[in-house]
Every structure is written in structure tokens, then in C-alpha cells.
Symmetry: C2
Subunit: 423 residues, 2 copies
């Protein structure tokens, strides 16, 4: 017998029939002898519809009240799932995030979990109930107001509950079969990854893979909660996300690259003709930070010898483009750079794998594949287990396919890694 947290996303509970299907699946887990805790998202497009309603009432809805409004979506689906389970003869009880003891900061719309005090739901569980918790929400520690954890954060609720309740593992159900070596819509030969380390999954999530919320993976890694990503529409196994030391050896040894991620949501800003003096770059990124913009990749060219000026490029979420340019224009007189260029016709392609640590030549293989496909590289950044490039938006698909193939990730494919001098 295991204690399992199962999380179902909005597409899994889009209507009454879907809710009943989820109920049958949950009941099977319970009948298999497990203790079952369910975390649930709002039905289908409910959150978007509530947001539309809020915007009809106020162009900038008060954050505390927006949280009060949006959290009703998960409460509805949680109650409906409990009803469906009761209808099947199961004992089930739904709880709001607050009732389940999800204590957060008071940052409305983007609160962080501080603590979970699951006494009430642990009691319900040990009394034999199936426990259903409304995802995405909690209660603020200081003001006792209802908070939300940000869009998509029901995954985080699930992992945090699994940790707080000493669950054996956490299952994240959605409409896809697991984590794939690349987006199957771009690469038809993409394969499901049976297991992947927290670190690789973090890089995948941070670099465009939408399947798991970044904060959820961070939480799972920090607390070492095994996560099983799988489909609510089939019984097939999905992808296990776990500690690298708990992984099956074979898969790791074989794969150099676990997957290829891509992200079309970023834009590139280049600050042209920046005086190459101490403290100038810091002024630029301070201005960006003060505008609460998260910068991703940063590249600084070597200085032009002639005038001792340089160019600094960085990427950022496309939605923050306008704000960033305004911030930079505001400090232009002081910093004395020459111009700001903005380009949102870009995309980021990343190859990710812990295998690259011990395999030299990964960079050469990646770049050669891109060159063969006629793709120009705009920016480069790397981590221990990732290489990312920025390319033109219209070449993202080609770049993903080229990399996927070059690293032998295509079904039946074979890796061709350059023996070289490391990357």
C-alpha cells in the first residue's frame, strides 16, 4: 500500500463526463489499497472565463479579490469530483487550499508556499476517505486571506502536499503521455522519456517544455518527491521525474541528450554602443530588475577597439518587451549608450542531458547539425547539462528536428557525436 497524491489538470475535468471518468480512475487506485489524495485544477476554461468576468468589472482587478474569485474554480471541480466519487460508493471529501493547510506568503496572484499543516486532511485520509484538495490556492500566513500560487501552480500544490504528507510519490495527470524527447508536433519521431532527473526536467521546464511547472520541479527536487507525469486518458506509464541516483542505470549511460526543448515566448534586446566601463552593465540590469523583468540569456561582445564601446544583448519574456525598452530609454542619458534594438522574431532551442557532462563534443555536434540545416545562431548560453541557442523564429522547428536527429533521439535513430575537445 502506498500513499499517493494524484493531480488532475483542467483538461482532465473539462465537463461532467470527464469528472466521472477521473472519479473511476481515482476509485481504482483506492481499491488497489492505496491512500489517495487528489489535487485538482479548475474545469477546462473556467479560470480564463472568471478572468474575463473580472476584466469586465475592472480593467485592473484588485489582486486580493482576483484571488478570491479565481480560487472558486478549483473549489467547484473539487466538490464535483467528491460528488462523483460518493456516487460510486466511495467516501470522499473536498477541501479548499486553506482548509488543507496550504500556508502561503501574501503576494496575491503569485504567492509562495511557506508551510503546509495537513492535520485535517491527514485525519480524513487515515479515516479512509479519499481526500480532494483544490489546487493553485492557499491562505496567507499573516492576513488569512485567500491566495493563488500563479497560473499552473496546481502541480506545485500536488508536490508540496506529497512532501508534507509523506506520500510515496506524486502523479501529475494531463492530456499528454509524459515528457518527450521533443515536441511531437514538431518531431514526429519524438519518444516518451521513461525517466528523467530533476535537474534535466528543470532545464526542460525553464527552456520551454510546458509539461510541468518550473516551481513544481524545483519543489520536487528540493524535497526529493518522485513525480510521475502521465495521461489521464490511458493507463500507460508516463515519465518518472526523480533523483538521478534513484534512476535506472541503463537509460542514463546510453543517452547523452535527454531531450530538445524550445521556447517561442522570448524576445531579444540589444543595447548598442555601451561604454566599456566598470559599472555600466550593472546599471543596465539594475534598471531591468527594477522593472521586475526576468532576464534569461545575456551576451556581451568584446569591446570595439576603436571607440571602447561594446554591445550587450539579452533575452526576456516577450510580454515584458515594451516595459524593458521604456526602462532602458529612461537611463540612456545617464549611461550614454547609442541605441536599443528589439527583436521578437526569435526562438530558443536547447539540448538538455546530464550525459553531456561526460561526453565531449556535444556542442560541436549541436552546432554542426544546425549548420547543416542552414540555421544561423544568434546567441548561445550553456549550463552544466544544457546548451541553448537563439535562432530566427521561422527556423525553430528545423533546429529542433536537426538537434533531435543529430543526438540519436529519433525513434530507431542513432547518435552521431563529434569526438572533439569538449565544448
Amino acid at each position: 500500500m502506498a500513499r499517493i497524491v494524484m493531480k488532475f489538470g483542467g483538461s482532465s475535468v473539462a465537463d461532467a463526463e470527464s469528472i466521472k471518468r477521473v472519479a473511476r480512475r481515482v476509485l481504482r487506485a483506492k481499491q488497489d489499497g492505496h491512500e489517495v489524495v487528489i489535487v485538482i485544477s479548475a474545469m477546462g476554461d473556467t479560470t480564463d472565463e472568471l478572468m474575463d468576468l473580472a476584466l469586465q468589472v475592472s480593467p485592473q482587478p484588485a489582486p486580493r479579490e482576483l484571488d478570491m474569485l479565481l480560487t472558486t474554480g478549483e473549489r467547484q471541480s473539487a466538490a464535483l469530483l467528491a460528488m462523483a466519487l460518493a456516487d460510486l460508493g466511495a467516501e470522499a471529501r473536498s477541501y479548499t487550499g486553506s482548509q488543507a493547510g496550504v500556508i502561503t506568503t501574501s503576494s496575491h496572484g503569485n504567492a509562495r508556499i511557506i508551510d503546509i499543516t495537513p492535520g485535517r486532511i491527514v485525519s480524513a485520509l487515515t479515516e479512509g476517505n479519499i481526500v480532494i484538495v483544490a489546487g493553485f490556492q492557499g491562505v496567507s500566513q499573516d492576513t488569512k486571506d485567500v491566495t493563488t500560487l500563479g497560473r499552473g501552480a496546481s502541480d506545485t500544490t500536488a508536490v508540496a502536499l506529497a512532501d508534507a504528507m509523506d506520500a510515496d510519490y506524486c502523479e501529475i495527470y494531463s492530456d499528454v503521455d509524459g515528457v518527450f524527447t521533443a515536441d511531437p508536433r514538431i518531431v514526429p519521431g519524438a519518444r516518451r522519456i521513461p525517466e528523467i532527473s530533476y535537474e534535466e526536467m528543470l532545464e526542460m521546464a525553464a527552456n520551454g517544455a510546458k509539461i510541468l511547472h518550473l516551481r513544481c520541479v524545483e519543489y520536487a527536487r528540493r524535497e526529493n518527491v518522485p513525480v510521475h507525469v502521465r495521461s489521464s486518458f490511458s493507463d500507460k506509464p508516463g515519465t518518472w521525474v526523480k533523483d538521478i541516483n534513484d534512476m535506472e542505470g541503463t537509460a542514463m549511460e546510453e543517452a547523452i541528450i535527454s531531450g530538445v526543448a524550445h521556447d517561442r515566448g522570448e524576445a531579444k534586446i540589444t543595447v548598442v554602443g555601451v561604454p566599456d566601463r566598470v559599472g555600466v552593465a550593472s546599471k543596465i540590469f539594475l534598471a531591468i530588475a527594477e522593472a521586475e523583468i526576468n532576464v534569461d540569456m545575456i551576451v556581451q561582445n568584446v569591446s570595439h577597439v576603436s571607440d571602447n564601446r561594446t554591445d550587450i544583448s539579452f533575452t526576456l519574456p516577450m510580454s515584458d518587451g515594451r516595459k524593458a525598452i521604456e526602462s532602458l530609454r529612461a537611463i540612456q542619458p545617464e549611461v550614454d549608450f547609442e541605441d536599443v534594438l528589439y527583436d521578437d522574431q526569435v526562438g530558443k532551442v536547447s539540448v538538455i542531458g546530464v550525459g553531456m557532462r561526460s561526453h565531449p563534443g556535444v556542442t560541436a555536434t549541436f552546432f554542426n547539425a544546425l549548420a547543416q540545416a542552414g540555421i544561423n545562431i544568434g546567441m548561445i548560453s550553456t549550463s552544466e547539462i544544457r546548451i541553448s541557442v537563439v535562432v530566427s523564429a521561422d527556423q525553430v522547428d528545423d533546429a529542433v528536428r536537426a538537434a533531435h536527429s543529430a543526438f540519436g533521439l529519433d525513434a530507431e535513430g542513432e547518435a552521431v557525436v563529434y569526438a572533439g575537445t569538449g565544448r
Copy 2:
């Protein structure tokens, strides 16, 4: 400066525009210098839609979960109103019933308010906020589960909060201008009643007037909370419901009858040929009570001399008709009555007024008016301040008009009361 509780029903907050209109109205009250607490119902048909969804998931939704589901409707409208007020520059905060301290029994779907601990909302109010409370809901004292007070019980929430917070009065806003001397759809000359005693309002509510929930009036009377029933679509004064000793004298002295109420929701059951022995009637009504049916009027005829049997008739909610007949059939062998007759083609018409206490002849006036209109009386029941008759369903409108006119309630009309020997 007064402390006011204002309650808005579902039709007053049916869409974003309505919510904004309510916000402007609430803000005016605040700007007039009042402390303002709002109790709000779910938007338009939200509660019905949620109920439909529940029935799609389960034919008999688990009561605890149904309460969890239905209470989201008021939480949504409360949050939306707070946003609309914030948009107008006001400080407003919404609270669930639980957060507002509405402590109830754990009878899901029909919980009773046990206590209100309004510390949190009183603090918010004295800090200058407009406080918005989701109506119709609370939290159970023993299990801390979300409860509902039954359909239409947002009125009760409002009055209970007004009492607990020592508000000066409670305003109930809806889509009608107040309490009328009769239903204006039946009697075009019906007039708004400027003020009415709790007792009369109780009789009106209990006898078919839909404007205020019966439990709300009971609560207001018990705790002596003045209630102002008015329209959210105009600034006209409505009807004040208050203690009879606080009413303006003139209106009272003049009016014998305050209003004419009618109810088409009842049916009549006649148990024929009941043995006229001690304990038989008690067996009949015990069976009805065990089926959880509330009986309204009861009439027992004098015994037939020939066979020492009698007939007992009573009225009950039409929706309980089938259940009542089954209960009676079940005890027929034991009680040995002859037959059960059921008639749902009936209606109840009541004339109500504290004035009738000191005016003899009210009954004669009422019955004469009915006779003149060719209406046969099926059953009669009376209280200190009410006379009710059961008539054929197709004669209800005529009976209401005849009574309204006979007691001089028509605009510009004049009462013609029989000088008689009391009623």
C-alpha cells in the same frame, strides 16, 4: 453616521454592468459617511447552473459537497463587487461566510446560524473598508465544513450580520420597490406599504409574499433589526419592516388590513371517514411529521352522528403531496380511515393586518367580498392578525382583487368594513 448592512440579490448583480451599478450605489452610501457592510447573492442564475452541473455528475449530490460547490457563486459575486469598488477608488474587501464568522449547525443545505463572530469584518470596517460578505453560507461549528443556509437565505445572513455588528438597520435590495398591499401583477391598484410590523411581515412571508425570506423576518423580529426593503434600480424609499412600537402612528390607526397575500404552492389533502376517537388525529399527523412534511392549515369537521366518523383536511406544500399520500396509505389499515383525497387545484388567500385586532367585522367584510365575487371558501384559518381561506386555484386572482378592494387598499379606495360582532 450610521452603520448599515445592504443586501443585494442575484437579479441586482446579474452581470458586470449590474455589479458596477451596485458598486456606485454602495459608494454613495459610504460617501454619505456611513459604515457599509454588503451581503451579496450569487449572480443571476449561477446557483441554478451549479445545481445543474452537480446533477450531471451525481443524481443525488453529496450534501457536504453540494454546499462546497454552491457557495462559490456568492464568493464570485462578492469578489467582483470588491473589484468594482476598488476601481472606483474605494477600499473594499470581500469575505466568505466562514471568514465573516457565520457559525452554523452542520445541517448541509439547510444550516441554521448559531452564532456570528464578526471580529475580522468589524476590524476591516473600522479601518475604513467597505466590507462585502458572501451571503447564504457559513461554517459548521463542529466540523468546520462549509454550509449553506438554504435557498434565499442571503436575507437572513444580512439581518444576522446587522444584529451581530450592531448595525443601525439592514437594507434588502431587489428588483421590486418594496412590500405591496397585494401582488401588483394581480392588483394594478396595489400600493407600496411605507412601513409594516414584523408580525405582519411574518404573516405575509408565511402566506405567500415572496419578497422576504421567512427566517429573515423571524430573525429581524427576535433581534429587533429594522429592515428596509427597496429596489436596487431606483432611489425611491421602500418598505420599512420594524417593531410595531417604533412605527409612525398615523398609518397604523388608518389601516385595518395591511395587505393581501396569496400562495399557489399548496395542495389540500382530505382524510375521509376518520374514526372519531382520541389519538387518531395524532397518529395521522405523526405520520406526516415523520415524512418531514410541514402542514399549514388543518380543519376537522364535526363528527357525522350516524357512524361517529369525521373528515380531516389539511394543506401542505404541493411538492410534498406524493410523499404525504404514501405515508397516509401506510397507516390506513391501523387507523382505519376510509379514503384519502388530494387536490392541488387550490390557492390560499390571506388578509393580514394588526388593525384587525381592534376592528370587528373584518371576517364578515372579507367573506362578503368573496361571496359577492362568486368565490366559494374551501377552508378557513385565522391568527390574531390574519385570516386565510383556501379557494379554487382559478379563483385566486379574483379573491385577491375582491379582498384588496373591500378593505380600501386600492389606490384612492375606501374601506367598507361591516359593523358586526367581531369575526
